[in-house]
């Protein structure tokens, strides 16, 4: 009799769980698979770009990168004692967006992406639809310094890799790869870098005006102001962010956002920074969660034993 009753309760539980699961799978798993385009990740391999065919020489690369009229005419390499020729705001005024410091490029960006970027920026960045001979990309392609173009490019990439640090932070990765277009207000970061604390309000406001001016240049260059990324890690799925960073055109055809060309490690660091901002409680959640769940498992077992003892007098 008692056994039968328990069976009945389990059948009812089965029915309840079954229908709840159908609803869940329908409105979450299935509906989202229909609503969101699935894009296969290419694991940051950039298969459309050719691999480097030559072995680079960093010493010759240095001459090419830092020579007259070369990369450092616009880009700084702070770590090598070469500050950017212009401050961020003036650079944005001149080029539309502040050109990145090259100190991290060798680790942050995939080498074949860098090589293509040097030769043919719009192809590497996948923004050919935005620029033409009449309105060229602000970064001119490198046409060669008189020798073998592929060898020279390989030398430049080798130099960038030789100066890149072995260790770098999530924040540095984000600052170099994303922050020149995207603000992170939760991390107090803008296109001008970290927003400092000022003693006087007029300085705070003056800095704010500079940020707004930077954004005006950026918005004129990009067509609209790129969104703040403070909560993006929770506002998009992981697979969306990965495939969007790999190739923005795969999700939004015609978007002004360039391909970033991150290495897998670089992308992981960027995602890490996005998580620090948008999901700051992740570690606390995971370390507390199992304890709370375990507490309730024990609670349930004790409650069951108590119920059994109370019900013994009823049946």
């Amino acid at each position: 009799m008692k056994k039968k009753k328990l069976d009945k309760e389990l059948i009812i539980l089965g029915v309840v769980v079954f229908f709840s699961l159908v609803i869940y799978l329908g409105v979450e798993t299935y509906a989202h698979s229909v609503m969101h385009k699935t894009v296969e990740s290419e694991k940051y391999e950039y298969k459309d770009l050719a691999a480097l065919s030559k072995t680079g020489d960093a010493v010759r690369g240095k001459e090419l990168v830092t020579g007259a009229g070369a990369c450092t005419g616009c880009h700084g390499i702070e770590s090598q004692g070469m500050p950017a020729p212009m401050d961020a705001l003036s650079a944005a005024g001149a080029y539309g967006v502040n050109p990145p410091d090259l100190g991290l490029s060798g680790v942050l960006y995939e080498e074949k992406f860098l090589a293509e970027l040097i030769k043919n920026p719009t192809k590497a960045l996948k923004v050919e639809h935005k620029f033409s001979a009449d309105s060229p990309h602000p970064m001119p392609g490198f046409a060669g310094a008189g020798g073998d173009l592929d060898q020279e490019v390989a030398d430049m990439v080798a130099y960038l890799k030789s100066i890149a640090p072995a260790e770098y932070t999530n924040k540095q990765a984000f600052e170099n790869a994303c922050a020149r277009c995207h603000d992170m207000r939760y991390m107090k970061m803008s296109g001008l870098g970290d927003t400092p604390k000022f003693k006087f309000e007029k300085d705070t406001l003056a800095h704010k005006i500079k940020i707004l001016e930077y954004k005006d240049h950026l918005s004129a260059y990009m067509g609209s102001t790129p969104p703040d990324l403070s909560t993006i890690i929770v506002a998009r799925s992981g697979s969306f962010l990965t495939t969007f960073i790999e190739n923005p055109q795969s999700h939004k055809e015609g978007t002004a956002m360039p391909r970033v060309g991150l290495t897998e490690e670089g992308a992981t660091k960027v995602m890490g920074y996005l998580t620090e901002s948008g999901d700051p409680a992740k570690d606390a959640r995971n370390s507390l969660g199992w304890k709370v769940v375990l507490f309730f498992i024990i609670f349930t077992v004790l409650a069951y034993l108590w119920k059994q003892s109370v019900w013994r007098k009823l049946h």
């Binding site: 009945k8 309760e9 009812i12 539980l13 309840v16 229908f19 709840s20 159908v22 609803i23 869940y24 329908g26 409105v27 979450e28 299935y30 509906a31 229909v34 609503m35 207000r185 939760y186 969104p227 403070s230 909560t231 929770v234 506002a235 998009r236 799925s237 948008g278 999901d279 700051p280 409680a281 606390a284 959640r285 995971n286 507390l288 969660g289 199992w290 709370v292 769940v293 309730f296 498992i297 609670f299 349930t300 077992v301 409650a303 069951y304 108590w306 119920k307 109370v310 019900w311 007098k313 009823l314 049946h315």
Partner: protein
Amino acid sequence: MANFKKATSIGDWFDQRLGTKKIEKIMASEYWIPKNINFLWAMGMVLAITFKLLLISGIFLMMYYKPDVDLAFDSVNYTIMAEVGYGWLWRHIHAVAASVIFLIVYIHMFTAIYYGSYKQGREMIWISGMLLFVTFSAEAFSGYMLPWGQMSYWAGMVITNIFEGFSPEIAGGMLNAPGLVEWLRGDFVPGDAFLTRFYMLHVLLLPLAILGLIGLHFGALRIPHVNNQDGEDIDFEVESKKYLAGDTKGSKVMRFQFDFLSKDIFVLGVFLTFFFYLVFYHFTFALDPVNLDPANGLKTPAHIYPEWYFLWSYEVLRPFAKDPGLVAFMFAQVAFFLIPFLDRSPNVAPANKRGLFAIWFWVMLVDMIVLTIMGKLPPEGIFNVIGGVAVWTFLGLFIALPIITMLEKKK
């Protein structure tokens, strides 16, 4: 004046003044519950506790939330999530509980329908329960506005638009309410006035209404007593006397406290284990990613959909043109209230012992689930066809209910 004696204990002191012993008997130790029930009868307790979780987490969230269109989003996503100690925990509890409470409400409702717990004197239990469902829906909707994300804004826009009423051409414009939408919003589009009034509704007026209705819902149980899983007509007078006389095994009833409560608490334990698993490890279903983008009136999201628990009634609206859609939608809101009167059979029994009604019940359940899933999917192609069929089935089921229950044989 009553005759007060020197109290023999603290309990006695209170009893002489407040009648606490009598209250305790009425509410707990001599509140009689039938024995032939299953764990579905514990859903009331599960709901009460989930509501309490919402209330407590809501109070903590309220301490940091800012009902201002410029501050709301960041007060939730930055202040509460990053700066306030355990703010994230309160928010997750609040969001997950708000979603899960509807799952339990639906289980509770379908339990009542299955066992016929809305007739033979139990009509007011059902009606007060449906009133709770409606106020909870309003509470959920108003709460959904508060984080002021993209879905808050756009769902607010879509739902308040419904109050425009019928097209002005219908019935000489009598069913059209010009200006009502703007009056509700306090603006032409959802804005600061809109957000602040929904905040007031969410934290004051609707919770007050809910607390009152919970009292009514409990009170409505008092006279007809709670139903049981066999639809058996139990003489509570006789059975409770048997229990008090010592025949606890022979009596068909048991005390609420602690006989039934011990089972309630066990079921609650199972529920809370599941609940906190969701809170910590599986919460995205309750925190829609679209709503984690700040509200932007110039950028319509690709898909606008309500939270899962409103999807079925949203789907009822969708396959039709504006005016018939509104009729169908209003019908769907009212139809469940009428179930005690649409069911013409006097039999109180589980659906599987009621012939055609058994088919009606399962078709209704499956149809509601189909409506729910179709309500989320984009209205195109085959989904439109399935959704349309499900809506007509839904409407047809309510029309069929009086007929099939009239045909039902009396027990």
